[in-house]
Symmetry: C2
Subunit: 212 residues, 2 copies
């Protein structure tokens, strides 16, 4: 059986849980709390030298890193990734957009607000830039969604899963999604897909910080 | 004929030129100096709402954004992307690594040093973090290359092209690659591949800043 090593309240990790649930695949989940350094132990670094979650481990021990590469691997040949070369390229394009223009701001704002101490200097130094760039990314998504139902092509698929993970919890980072009605409608469509699985709530200590 | 809109001295853009030259494909290149705002004009934003270079435009006007998604699209079915699902996933993994853990530090250090004014506050605020994280990425690459010749699988391909682009000019950002002998050997192997095309030198004003 395949194994995912991941932190359940990380959007990058939740992407894999959501796809695996929707594919109806059996998998083992090993919880790695990266916020407590568990992805930097010698044992974990032997699996992924980059020290990040999630990773996918095959039964024979081979390891694949990078959430969006894992999504592509698991979705190949399923309806969650288009077979058409151009549609597939567009899906990939949105997944690179997610990792370069969206996650480093929308996800990092959430991390700073919920996973760093209330007096962290990062709250001053980084949050403003995260908000500015995060809103730019959300505006690009809004523009696409005005004329398109999905990011993966004509149907729901892994580019939607990749972008959904942190957009659905963008309010944790302080983003007001009311400014993006088409994004809001798309989030609702994703939540209504068959076998949808929601991300678990953060631990009480993180929820308390997020509530400030 | 296909058209690339790109800034020739950008590593992200040069990736496409290198692959297209190696594939022997005909293409048109439209120079877009993103450092002078040319990727933020209304005309360009109509092609790519995210305002970034490069993009690929097909003859019928359809547009694909994100350098690494374009590499995948152009390389599909060629020896530059493995057909084997696992090898292909590993190549993709390195390409996501490049955009998330490498480019935002190795490329941004180069940009700050060569494309922002000598008195830019970014030189103080951001360069230290770029150096620290950039060295982490180079160390991950070094570790892989001690046991493997390439990043794309068993042969040279698009994951190598993606990582080569900014690693080959990492010294512009202040990185000393002598600390990474396996990376140095790999750079030399890439330069020796058939129909290799080098990135042009930066303009004199940028070269002057880089020389400081």
């Amino acid at each position: 059986m395949i194994t995912v090593y991941g932190y359940s309240v990380s959007g990058n990790c939740h992407k894999l849980r959501l796809l695996l649930e929707q594919l109806g695949r059996e998998y083992r989940w090993v919880e790695i709390d990266s916020s407590k350094g568990e992805s930097r132990t010698p044992q974990y670094l032997a699996k992924n030298a980059n020290g990040r979650v999630p990773i996918l481990e095959l039964e024979d021990g081979r390891v694949l890193a990078e959430s969006n590469a894992i999504l592509c691997y698991l979705a190949e040949g399923t309806p969650y990734l288009p077979a058409d070369a151009w549609q597939k390229a567009q899906a990939l394009s949105w997944m690179f957009f997610e990792q370069y223009s969206h996650e480093p701001y929308v996800a990092v704002a959430r991390f700073i607000r919920g996973w760093t101490p209330a007096d962290s200097p990062r709250r001053v130094a980084e949050l403003t830039r995260c908000m500015e760039r995060g809103h730019q990314a959300l505006a690009v998504m809004e523009k696409h969604l005005v004329g398109n139902a999905w990011f993966t092509g004509l149907e729901y698929g892994i580019a939607d899963i990749a972008l959904f993970a942190y957009t659905d919890v963008a309010h944790h980072g302080g983003f007001d999604l009311k400014r993006y009605p088409a994004v809001g409608d798309w989030l609702a469509r994703v939540r209504a897909t068959p076998r949808f699985a929601a991300m678990p709530d953060p631990a009480p200590e993180n929820a308390a910080l997020l509530a400030v």
